[in-house]
């Protein structure tokens, strides 16, 4: 994987600023100033797309990008928690989750998870505006059937750590398990996080909630509910804007 030394939040900001500058330059009058603006736009886009910045490199900045203990310490990064009750025993849920390569079928923002060995895996996420984020993760705690915890390896584009816990309960409808996912990202703090939410139309918290909801549906109903390909009459302008059939 390519070495990165720019945080994901900064990469998104670079992409957005690069695109804005590019559009500005395209409309500007011809002249040398236009080329200065265009080349700055290209540099920003390149920095955002690759996640590598030669200036950072020269300054020795960003060397610790990817260290979860540093990037996620204290109030740094964002933390999201989601909880759901699933009608299944803890062991079977643990087993399903532990097959990490299956997670992208319900976790829609994930493209692939490749299991490298017992502890490490390679993750590819489709980010906003088509940017792909890739990182390696390792399992740092694994307690059958109650807990799986992981963190990204140093040098990753997305610095993250997370865990999933399974607590079995006796409920009126039969045995059920409370599943709690905790996730921390360093890259998506502050303004960049807001922008990310705006670009994908969904906040990381609601993305996680929908992911967990699909996981539950897949386990309990053996399929995820959908109204894809629903038949309907002609939509009004408002209906097309609301993209209800997207």
């Amino acid at each position: 994987m390519r070495t990165t030394n720019v945080s994901s939040g900064e990469r998104i900001a670079c992409m957005a600023a690069g695109m804005a500058l590019g559009m500005f330059a395209a409309r500007a009058r011809r002249g040398s100033a236009r080329w200065v603006v265009l080349s700055s736009a290209a540099a920003l886009l390149g920095r955002g797309a690759t996640g590598y910045c030669p200036i950072n490199h020269a300054l020795g900045r960003g060397r610790n990008v990817g260290d979860t203990r540093e990037a996620l310490a204290g109030s740094r990064g964002i933390k999201i928690v989601e909880s759901v009750t699933i009608r299944a025993d803890a062991q079977s849920l643990y087993d399903t989750w532990r097959r990490l390569e299956n997670l992208p079928t319900v976790m829609r923002h994930l493209e692939t998870v490749d299991v490298i060995d017992e502890k490490t895996s390679h993750w590819v996420m489709r980010g906003p505006a088509g940017i792909r984020f890739e990182w390696d993760a390792e399992i740092i705690n694994d307690v059958t059937p109650t807990l799986i915890a992981w963190r990204s390896l140093p040098g990753s584009a997305v610095v993250s750590a997370g865990s999933v816990q399974f607590h079995e309960r006796q409920r009126r409808g039969g045995v059920a398990t409370e599943l709690t996912v905790t996730m921390q990202y360093s890259a998506l703090g502050g303004k960049a996080s807001d922008m990310l939410a705006w670009l994908v139309g969904q906040s990381p918290a609601s993305m996680l909630r929908e992911d967990v909801r699909r996981f539950k549906a897949q386990v309990e109903a053996r399929e995820v509910p959908t109204t894809r390909a629903r038949s309907h009459g002609p939509r009004s302008v408002a209906g097309r804007i609301a993209r209800v059939d997207a």
Partner: protein, 390 residues
């Protein structure tokens, strides 16, 4: 295919739309043989249920013939004649296993929307707004039915469509409303609203052992039907002081249970509060009109039950919660857990205890649906229940 589509307040049309297809492995496609307009469809027609989008196919009471099944459906085969519950349930979650089918965790693909409005989401419903999943409804030639191994219920060939069609909604809905009253010997049950659900609630209350049922409405034919078909006593809220009459008719105690089979569009009794509701909803400052609910709470005896099969969607204003508290009332409400009533109610039909066809006033082709909606809303031509034939 042809389908009845919603285009705006009091604007429904027959449109040509794409045929439905199998999307998930547990789906089935039905060729609809009979479908009905529900009183709750009139709430959509009147534009008081949020999150409708022009082009949505309506209809949640339907039955038909299986024409195609998904790879995971082994309990149904092509040609089976089935009735479909209007509540969509997966059969695998805790609520489904508790027989609370209308509260299924998994069947609403737009659960996030309902969670914003209500905290948690109930099940998806056919043809009943995007808040309830955005599923295409059954007032069409064909319909896609999800979780077809759980919902569709095979019906015997000896029974006609109009005898079994109402198992999809209004018969179980009226029955659950009565069951929620925990009727005991000697009980008097008051029912507000003598539309089809009210009629089934009246019949069910007698079947469950009520000694007397008092039916309240203003439409003479409907009151007449409640008297002749079920033996209810009736009050016309245009002529009678309902609260005073209920008191004197029950030895000064009040009814043991009060059923609100009207819901959020109560016409009101000319009371000051009814006029207040009308002004406030007209000014978009409130969503629901609730004169019936107020009256039911006020009329109910101490320790009694208020059972609400009528649909509410938003916020209530001036609810006499003090009266409910002071009298120690129990409230029961919600969408019907249709699946749990299918077999027992079919047994009542087969045993001749009830013939649900008694509510039907009109049988029309699907093409006549737009006129049928207008007629049903205006209660013209003694319209109580319309069956549509695609």
């Amino acid at each position: 295919m042809k389908a009845l589509c919603w285009h705006g307040t009091r604007d429904v049309r027959i449109d040509r739309v794409p045929d439905p297809e199998i999307v998930n492995p547990r789906d089935a496609i039905l060729k609809v043989t009979a479908t009905a307009i529900c009183g709750s469809d009139l709430h959509l027609y009147d534009g008081v249920i949020p999150s409708m989008v022009a082009g949505d196919i309506l209809g949640h009471e339907f039955m038909g013939e299986v024409v195609e099944v998904g790879s995971e459906v082994s309990s149904l085969k092509k040609g089976d004649r089935v009735v479909v519950p209007f509540t969509i349930a997966c059969g695998g979650c805790n609520p489904c296993h508790e027989q609370l089918w209308a509260l299924c965790d998994n069947s609403n693909p737009n659960a996030w929307m309902a969670e914003k409005a209500y905290g948690y989401s109930g099940s998806g419903l056919f043809g009943y707004s995007h808040l309830y999943g955005g599923y295409a409804g059954g007032q069409a030639e064909y319909v896609r039915v999800p979780y077809a191994d759980v919902g569709p219920f095979k019906v015997p060939s000896g029974l006609t469509d109009s005898q079994v069609l109402f198992l999809s909604d209004i018969f179980p809905t009226g029955y659950m409303a009565a069951e929620n009253c925990h009727i005991q010997r000697g009980d008097v049950v008051a029912v507000w609203g003598c539309g089809p659900v009210g009629q089934f609630a009246i019949k069910s209350a007698f079947l469950l052992g009520a000694e007397r049922v008092i039916a309240i409405d203003r439409v003479p034919e409907r009151l007449e039907l409640a008297r002749t078909a079920s033996g209810a006593e009736t009050l016309n809220f245009d002529d009678d002081d309902v609260l005073e009459r209920l008191r004197t008719m029950t030895g000064g105690r009040g009814p043991d249970a009060c059923i609100d089979a009207v819901g959020l569009e109560a016409h009101g009794t000319g009371s000051l509060l009814a006029r207040y509701d009308k002004v406030k909803t007209a000014a978009f400052m409130a969503t629901d009109r609730l004169d019936v609910l107020r009256q039911a709470i006020h009329a109910c005896r101490k320790g009694g039950t208020v059972s609400i099969p009528g649909v509410y969607g938003g916020f209530l204003d001036k609810v006499p919660i003090g009266a409910a508290f002071a009298k120690g009332l129990t409230f029961k409400m919600g969408q019907t857990h249709v699946h749990r009533y299918l077999a027992p109610l079919l047994a009542l039909i087969e045993g001749g205890k009830i013939d649900p066809a008694f509510v039907v006033s009109h049988e029309l082709p699907l093409d006549a649906a737009p006129e049928a909606y207008a007629m049903f809303l205006a209660k013209r031509d003694a319209c109580t229940k319309v069956i549509l034939r695609p």
